[in-house]
Amino acid sequence: MLVADIQRFCMHDGPGVRTTVFIKGCPLKCAWCHNPETQSEEKELLFYENKCISCSACQVCEKNVHYFDELHLLNRKECVFCGKCVSKCPAKALEIVGKELSVEEVFQSVYRDVLFFDSLGGITVSGGEALSQWEEVLPLVKMCKEKGISTAIETCGYAETDVIKSLVPYVDIFLYDIKDTDDVRHKKYTGVSNEKIIKNLFFIDSLCVKTIVRCILVNGVNLNEKHLENVAEIVKRLKHCEGVELLPYHEFGEVKRRASGRKSLAKKEWLCNEEQIKAAVDFLENKGIRIIKNA
């Protein structure tokens, strides 16, 4: 499977101490994406300008991807991901995102922290989109369950219902994103309709599997009462939902967006201020929704 990163001791990807596996590739292309380097299903070369010591060791590249014109510049489309520049770079300014790992290898990485998981913590498969490589994720979570490791899937829900059905027996909890309840906006900002997403959420609930609903808050896009009202409606109908986590938009993904050579789509006004966040929390709590405060 193509993995963007495996991070240990993750704080906010489900209960307890967790190791999060970030899968490469996502069917949604959210304008505000916090992990833009995980969107594409292909490998990517990241360049962190602030770490570069201009030693030019990267010019080992046979395809001449790296050149210096006062600044260190890249000709990314020539890159064949051979990794030579990365292994030469002494300052960790270069990184290839996307590592081909076997299910067993990923499992072994997760297993390293098994003694910290206790009964609560475990693995969280995230991304990108966890379900974009469901054929590998399925044996992975199965293997974890067999070893007594708790499993969580963090998903945008945009997948075939049958795929979700096949995973459900091995998943303890879904961290389920609802980007926007307005389908017109959903299409505009993520590239796809939310219809399938909302349908799948109810499907998971019908199979008595626990969920935490995670909602991004983007000022000027979905930060309005109508959307929150809809979220409350949906969550109230779920029988196995543990609560809602609100994730106010932030700009931190921009570092990696820049490193991956993408153009910024971000708008300053997307940031929510504290009063807005508090108002959203109060609004949902008044509707009887449990808000999980972790971030």
Partner: protein, 708 residues
Amino acid sequence: MKFFAVNGKRPTRLSEKTRAFAWESLNHKYGLDTAKDPCVVMDEYSGFEELSDIKKYDLIIKDIAEKSRIRICTGEKISGAATFGLAIKHLVPATVNGHSIFSSVSHLTIDFETVLKKGVNFIKEQSISAAEQYKGTDKEEFALSCVNVFDCFEIWHKRYLDELKDREELKDNYQILLKVPFKPAESFYEAVQSIWFVFSFVRLCGYWTGIGRIDWLLGDFLKKDLENGKLTIDEAREILAHFFIKGCEWICGGNYGSGDAQHYQNIVLAGVDEFGNECTNEVTYLVLDIIEELGISDFPTTVRINQKTSPELLTRVAQVIRQGGGVIAVYNEDLIIKSLTKRGYEISEARKFANDGCWEVQVPGKTFFTYVPFDSLRFLQEDTLKGYEAGVSFNSFQELYAAYVKTLSIKMEDLLSYVNNERFLQNKNQWTWKPTTPCSVISVFESGCIEKGHSYLEGGPVYNVISPHIGGLTDVVNSLYAIKKLVFDDRKVTFEELMEILKNNWEGHEYLRQFALNKYCYFGNDNDEVDAIAKDLVAVFAELCDEINDRSGFDMPGGISTFGRQIDWAKTRMATPFGKRNNEVLAANFSPTPGTDQIGATAIIKSYCKADLTSMASGAALDVKLLPSSVKGENGIEMIKGLIKGFVSLGGHFMQLDVADIEMLKQAQEHPEDFQNLSVRVSGWNARFVTLNKEWQDMLIAQTGSEF
């Protein structure tokens, strides 16, 4: 009154009066009062200089008892105060001709159990019988000096009674002091006062003792009082809070260098009793309540955690740790008891362990303890590698490693000779202690001394321990590993070239320096290859300790520490093969070298736990720093609990989880190389703090302290 917290607000359970008392004590009121009166002055005693040391000592203690200021604070629930400034400086507070006369003793926890259960009179009687028994022998003078301690203690005690007698608002204090500490305590209130009064007197005379297992000492008293309805839990909390607040009476503000909780008055909580039964009780929770509310760091507290520790206690510990400040640390009790029985302690004795007022393990009330620290990195640089001078060469990693082991073994022999010469008159299986500074005040509270007729510093206690403490171990491991990779495995550079480069402090070799620093995975990243070197070196060191142990009059268990010495050691340390330059401040204790740990807390704990730490009976400390944002919210407590449980299961010894505050983030901004493993997380996104540029870092700093 805003008691500082890293994460959110501290709870309020104590009365306003008690909180106000804490506030003024934490803000130096009593410390400055103590400091203004340094000591007794012996100049006026004619013939003082001609007296024997012990006679001088006896006079001094009497003078202290008679002349020290009595301080009674408004509304204090327990009385007694250590009111001499020189005592804060680790001296017996007395001078002659402007010079101090006797140094004091620390690194011990005295026997409060006997004080509580049998009363000070019992120990006094023992001293009187010893004086009879040793009449006419060379031990008589010591025994008489012990009796003198109690005479002086009674004088000081009576001065407090006189002062309290007519003060209506302090009549409880008066009534209780009529009984304790001379007679056994019978209630919780009496027990707290009893410990405090003995502690105060010992401190007044300049000695720094730990408190030990306060919950184990006080638990039964409280249980009985609660059952009889004699006391409520809230009243008990108030009384105990005054113990903690009065313990701040030496805080003087200003810049101490290493902080203001430096009088080794450590406390150990929870764990099993001598029979193996868990002794966590209401007092355990009261102590945690008080620390959580007032943030008092003057009593560094360590909680004994075992595989069976209740989820309730773990949760409370995690909640207090989350407040930051690093006040609460944890011991892995299972491993420590095992390490002590392995050294020959009876299991019932091992189970009583507390510490020396720092974190080095000892059986309280019956152990002489000191340690001999050394910089093992300096040995590598100076001795094995001859200061990186040309002409030193090794053909393989194994050869280099063997040479370093040889160096260590020579240094341990030196250490043994030093210890034996310093402490003994001759050492042919006949260990006769050298006479040294008198210390009767502490000797009477250490079991073994009166019986044997020897002082605390002359072999009196039941156990006598001098622990070799290896420092810079992590940096040695990383240095050896870097040489292995750069020279022997990856052949980036020859051995001779590397030595030349290091001698020149990496000048002109920035590429290679960055390569060494960033391309290898050093200790603290759960990398089996480098951790194996650490594991083996710990085993080697343990074996060397065992080898010298039999040739000393002491028990010599190993320990791994630097305490704060890495700062001083930096001055003489040269560049390291893993990319650090001359004079950089390197690893603390057995923690990763700053900037080399890149995966996170679980990986740090795993690397540390791979060594067999049962062989380090004195202790091996691990410091782990966590960002406040990473342990916030509902899941934060579970994160901390997970780390502690993993630490215990994997076989750690002592761990301090420190939640860093905003100030620390600012430091991280200025010195990113030292904060590589601080990972930040805001909902869906995650990255290492140091990979963000300033703009974003500033934003994160601004966010620290709010809910989202």
